[in-house]
Symmetry: C2
Subunit: 403 residues, 2 copies
C-alpha cells in the first residue's frame, strides 16, 4: 500500500480524494499497488466529512511520517505551498501539483530538488486542467522538434469571449453574468488580464525549449478591451476572437506571448468554445496536432493530479524524464515580433490608414457606416505601434492581432 | 549507443530512419543515449540511398546480433511481420510497430511475449498516425474509467467525405479523384468499407476495457452508400457525416462499431476535416477530451514509431505498463444497440414513416420535392431494421445513424 497526503482540502484537493475513492479499482490497478489517502492537510476542520479523521493541521505530521511517499499539493500560491513542496521533496517524497503559480515560478528548482532526492515533481494538472498535455509533451512528442504551441488555456476568458460572440454582448455585462454564475472570480484580474494563461504558457514554453521561460518576461495582454463591435468584424471575416497563449520558435530565440487573436475558421482552435481549453502543437515531423478538453473544474483537474500520483507510484525510486533546465531560454522581445493586426478607424481616417499600411484590407459593415475595419499584412510590432499612433483620434477601440 | 533495426524500408520505415537522423539531437537527448540504425531489412536493394550499406535481406542477421536492442516493424501484414515480431521479442528485443493489422490480430499475445522476455511491444503509430493516443490512454488517463471513445480514424474516408460535403460531389467521382491524387489506394476496400478503422477501434477498445476486443466481431459499415443528397440533408440539419469508429460502455458489455454517422456542429469531431484524424475520449471524471492530428503520412507516423523507440530506450530491462489481456471483452451485439437514424423516403411513404416511427422529425428540402428526410428517436437497431423494411419501395438511398 502506498500512503498519500493531500495538502489543501479545497476544490481540487477534495476532488483528488474523490477520484482515488470513486475510481479505486482502476487507480490501484494502474498504480500497481493500493493507494491510500492517509492525511489531508488543511487549516480548517471538516466535521461530518467522511474523511474528517484524516485531517491534520500540521505539515510536520506528514513530513515526518516515512510511510507517506506521495504528496498532492493542491493548496495554490507560492508561500506555504512552496515551502512544503521543498520539504517534501527534500525528504524524498514525490509531489504532484495543480499549482501553476508555483510551477511557473520555481519549476526547474523543484525538479532539480526532486532529482537530487530520487523522487518526482509532477504537474500535469497545472496546465489545461484535465487535458493531458504535460505528459504528451514529455513522453509522446519525444521525436519532435516542437516549433509552436498555441493554447486556449483559460476557461473563464474563453467562456466570456464565446458568450460575447454568440450573443453580441459586451465584455462588462458578460463578465458580470459570469461572476454571478461563479464562472469568474469576484476579482477577475488573474483571468481577464491574461495572468493565468501567462503562467501556463511559461510552463509549456519551458518544456518546449527545455530551458526556463520566465513568466514575468512574457508579453501579456488581456481581453478587457474587446468589444461586441470587434466580434461583428470578426464574424464578417469568418473569424473568432480567442485569448491565445503562444510559444513559437523565432530563429535561435523563442517568442512567448498572451494576447487576444482573431483566428480563422480553418484553425483547429476556432471551435474551442465555452469553458473548454485546447492546446495546439506543431512539430517539425508531426505537423499540427491538438489536445482538447476541460481546462478546469474539480474532477477533471483532480483526475490529472491522480494520474501523476499513479505515475509516481509506478516510478518509486526512479526519476521520470523531464527536461526543464534552470538556464533561461533566450526570448524574442515583442517589439521585433511580426504580427498581422486588425483595427478600426473612422471613415475620415481610412485614407490615411491605407497610406500607413500599404496593402491592408478594409472591411465595412453596414451597421457601422461611420467607420471601417482594417487588416494589415505582417509587420513588426514596434512599426505597427508607431504607425497606428499616427492615426490619432481617428482610431476606434483597440487593435487585435490576426493569425 | 543503442542499436536499432528497421524492418521494411517503405514509406514508414524510411520515415523512421529520417526522423532519427533529422531530429538526432532531440531524439538522443530524450532517449538518454545515442540511437543508431544498424540494419534495414528489405527484400530490395537501394543503390545510391545514403543508407544502402545498412540494408540486409535476412532477418536472422538482425535476430542474432545481440547489439540490436530495438526493432521497428514497419512492414505491415500478419505474415512475416508476425513471425519476425515473435522472434525478436523472444530474443528480448523490444519491437515498435505501425502495423495495426498485426496489433489488432495478435496484440495481447505479443504483449505477453514481450513481458515474459522483459522487453516491450509498443504500437503508438498503429492508431491515429502521428496523434499521440495510445500513450495518453495508457499513461495519462490512468485515473479515469473511460466510458466512450469515438474516432475519425481513417484519413482516406475522411478526405472523401469532407470533399463530398464541400463540393456537393458524389462518392464515386471523389473516390476516383482521391485515387488519382494518391490519397486512396487503387483497391480502396480496406479504407472505404471501414476495415482499417475497424482494426484501429479494436485496439483502442481493448485498451479501454483492458480485455481483448476481437476486430472480427466489430460491426463495420463503410461509406460507399453515402450520397451528395445525404449531405444536403445533413447540412440543413447543421450536421456533417463522418465515418465514426466507436467503443462505448453498455452496462457490463462494450459496444464497438464502425459506421457513418451524422454528427452535430457541437460535437468536437465536427471540425475534423480532410486527411486529419481525431479521437474523442469521454472519461467518468474528466468528461470530454479530444486528440487531433495527422492520422497518416510518412513523417507523422514515423515520429510516433520513434517516440516508441525512445520509450524502449529509456525502459531497457523494464516492462512498460499496458493492460490488454487475452481474455475476450464481452461485446454488445449490434441488434440490441440503441441508435437514432436518418433515412429518406418518397413523399407517398411519409405518412407510413411517421406511423412506424412515432415522434420522428421530417425535413423537406426544396430541391428534392419528391421525398423527405426522417430522423427517428432512439430505437434498437433490430427494431429499426424491421420497421424500415416495411417502407419497401418508398425508401430512397440508405439510412445513416445520427449522434
Amino acid at each position: 500500500m502506498i500512503q498519500v497526503a493531500v495538502l489543501g482540502y479545497g476544490t481540487v484537493g477534495s476532488g483528488v480524494v474523490e477520484v482515488i475513492e470513486k475510481n479505486k479499482e482502476m487507480v490501484n490497478k494502474k498504480a500497481g499497488e493500493e493507494l491510500n489517502v492517509k492525511y489531508i492537510l488543511d487549516l480548517r476542520d471538516f466535521p461530518g466529512d467522511p474523511y474528517e479523521d484524516k485531517v491534520v493541521h500540521d505539515f510536520t505530521r506528514i513530513l515526518e511520517d516515512d510511510e507517506v511517499k506521495i504528496v498532492c499539493e493542491t493548496m495554490g500560491g507560492v508561500g506555504a505551498a512552496y515551502r512544503f513542496t521543498q520539504q517534501a521533496l527534500s525528504a524524498g517524497k514525490s509531489v504532484c501539483t495543480s499549482n501553476k503559480e508555483l510551477v511557473a515560478a520555481h519549476g526547474p528548482e523543484l525538479l532539480a530538488l526532486a532529482k537530487a532526492n530520487t523522487c518526482n515533481y509532477l504537474f500535469e494538472a497545472s496546465v489545461g486542467g484535465g487535458i493531458p498535455i504535460i505528459r504528451p509533451l514529455n513522453y509522446s512528442l519525444t521525436a519532435e522538434r516542437i516549433e509552436e504551441i498555441a493554447g486556449i488555456l483559460n476557461g473563464t476568458t474563453n467562456y466570456i469571449l464565446s458568450k460575447m460572440e454568440k450573443e453580441g454582448a459586451d465584455f462588462d455585462s458578460v463578465l458580470k453574468e459570469a461572476q454571478e454564475k461563479g464562472y469568474a472570480e469576484r476579482n477577475p484580474e488573474a483571468d481577464v488580464e491574461g495572468y493565468d494563461a501567462c503562467r501556463k504558457i511559461a510552463i509549456l514554453s519551458s518544456l518546449m525549449t527545455g530551458k526556463n521561460v520566465d513568466y514575468q518576461k512574457i508579453y501579456t495582454e488581456g481581453i478587457t478591451r474587446i468589444t461586441a463591435e470587434d466580434f461583428s468584424y470578426a464574424k464578417a471575416m469568418g473569424r473568432s476572437i480567442k485569448l491565445l497563449a503562444v510559444s513559437r520558435e523565432a530563429g535561435e530565440r523563442t517568442l512567448a506571448m498572451v494576447a487576444p487573436c482573431m483566428i480563422s475558421r480553418e484553425h483547429p482552435l476556432y471551435m474551442v468554445n465555452g469553458v473548454f481549453n485546447a492546446v495546439f502543437v506543431k512539430g517539425n515531423m508531426l505537423g499540427d496536432s491538438m489536445y482538447y478538453g476541460r481546462g478546469a473544474g474539480k474532477l477533471p483537474t483532480a483526475s490529472a493530479v491522480v494520474s501523476d500520483v499513479i505515475d509516481c507510484a509506478r516510478h518509486q525510486g526512479k526519476v521520470i524524464m523531464c527536461f526543464w533546465d534552470e538556464e533561461d531560454a533566450p526570448l524574442q522581445g515583442i517589439d521585433d515580433t511580426e504580427s498581422r493586426f486588425f483595427f478600426r478607424v473612422r471613415k475620415d481616417g481610412e485614407e490615411k490608414a491605407k497610406e500607413l499600411f500599404a496593402g491592408a484590407e478594409c472591411i465595412s459593415l453596414p451597421e457601422m457606416p461611420e467607420e471601417c475595419g482594417v487588416v494589415t499584412g505582417k509587420i513588426k510590432e514596434k512599426d505597427f505601434a508607431a504607425r497606428y499612433e499616427q492615426l490619432g483620434n481617428a482610431r476606434v477601440g483597440t487593435r487585435i492581432r490576426v493569425d
